[in-house]
Amino acid sequence: MTQQLDLASLYRLRQADILPAARFLEAARLLRDDAFWRCWGHRALLGLGLAHILAGIICFFAFNWADMPPFAKFAVIAAGIVLSALSSWLVGIHRPAGEALLIGASVLTGILLAVIGQVYQTGADAFQLFAAWGLVILPWLLVSRSAAHWAVWALIYYLAWSLYLAQVIEVLHPGRLMDLQCIGLAALVPIIALLLRELAVLADMRWMDDGWTRIVPLLIASSHLFSMAAGALLADIGIALIALAALLLGAAMGIYGRILPHFAAFATACAFLALLVAATGWRLVALGFDSLPLPEAERYTLLLFLMVLWCVGVAFVLQKLLRRAKPWIDEGRP
């Protein structure tokens, strides 16, 4: 009987009338991990102090920023980059503090490029700034073994690609179908990032093996595919786009259900596919009802009733599928 208790257990004991209310706080004090709270208090004090100092420095530069000559502005940011990179090297690039400092240097590089663009009014499109930013920080990325650093880099190229699609492709080829295709094409960066992540893990790069490195790109890619398909459904164009989205989401379900078993990723793809199936059903019902010879109020009432039935049905199947899939996906995990 050496089971560890937590606060929730105490509430459970109180509900079962085992622990008297008058002794609840005493029990909570006895269970409290005082060493943790001492450490927490120290860190909170340090965090608060450093946040104050940092905010003070930012306020100081904000006060003088407008009056500073361009080269002083560049020098301040460049000094930040050099300091961060050097500190990262001194602390150790592969330690958490070193990784954070190197990410800081990468972010400051983007700020430097933005300030250069602001001072000289280069007239370049925004996607060029992001593309250049990603290219400049590539050497740091190659020596870094931080998944967070790679995620920042992927985010920079995701923004660059999305801006390129919006500022160049959609302007050169205007039209609703092209808009939808661009929403889908924006999913390319997260899909490529996901593929590279899986290859890196298969190549035994364990530092890339965190669950979030799989879920985040999958979530972004799935939302793009769903948005593209939903747009096509609403505009009644590009049936192929709906089929493509369903196919890719189904493929993701297959991959994370069988080949690389991971329940959270499987559930993500499954949820987006279910949403797409529900939306398709609603659209088909709505199209069918447009031609029904019924008064408006009754038509809408009947339409909503069928939509409720369809939604509950899809949710029921989804719940059953996830409940059944969980044990065998969990068993299949290495």
């Binding site: 120290h42 004090l45 529900a278």
Partner: protein, 339 residues
Amino acid sequence: MMDLQELCAHLALDGSAVREALAADDERRAQEMPWYVKGVLGIAAWIASVLVVAFGIFLAASLFASWEDADPFILIGLVFFAIGIWMLRRAKSFFQEQLSTAITLAGIGLAGCAVALLADHLTVAALAVSGLAALGIALTRDGTFQALSGTLAAGFALVALLDGDIPALHLWLALPLPVGCWLLTYPPLRRDLRPLAIVLLFAAPLALLWTDPGFDLGRPQIRDIGVWLARAIAIASMAWLLAPNLSPGIPRGVILIAALLLGIVLPPAGSAGLVILALAFALGSRLLAIGGIIVTGYVLNAFYYDLDTTLLMKSGMLVLAGGVLTGAWFLLGRKDTAS
């Protein structure tokens, strides 16, 4: 930190009864789906509930001739409430729980809005919503429903308070704080009211921050010394209650005086943030600590933002305060190492 055996011995609890109560809970937790699956099913249930509510309203509209009168909407709201509670009491899956929660809340909201229109008085609507929410909480045991119906009732009450031009508004807004504190530290028998307690606990600072962070000392309400004193007494009484758990080494009198001073000096939301942090420590709750830090951080941010001075002066104050805090961290660290 004690384990189960030591705790039972220290508090003279029946070990076998404790084990039995906790085993049932462990079994229930083991059968639960992961949070993200619950999230997906919850979203599906809420989408379905929007359609159900729309369907109900259209159905009622085809039965009642006029959309203009508020009376039918009270009836529709009450029907939704009754159906939702009935479903919630019989819910067997997470999807059913969320669907019935959403339908019940829609019923409460609809009835509340219709009462507000009919009576032309927000206080009556707030009372109706609070009554329905309390009835729902008494009849069911669902945590999500408890939290959301509490939030809905708190929202209606806040709007009614702001609309009513009530004297000593800060005191009314701060009232849920001691209630939430009490529910968490003296939990009732047979019912888990933690979701409601947490809503009440955070309703006060959020309402205070929304209405007025409290730094504008020129306002008549802020200059009312009675309000400040009453708040200080409220905070001090809570500190008195929590004193043995905060630090057994420090006498109650010292904690009491510190709490009184904090209550007088700090703006209301700042005091509420500190109460939440003290409660987090007394209970050993990391979740409450995160909430307390967010509230306190927001108050600090509002304080520096509202300061009527130059950025250079703010910069100096921030660096000075940061230096004092970092110095305190250094000295405490050295003291700990030495001991």
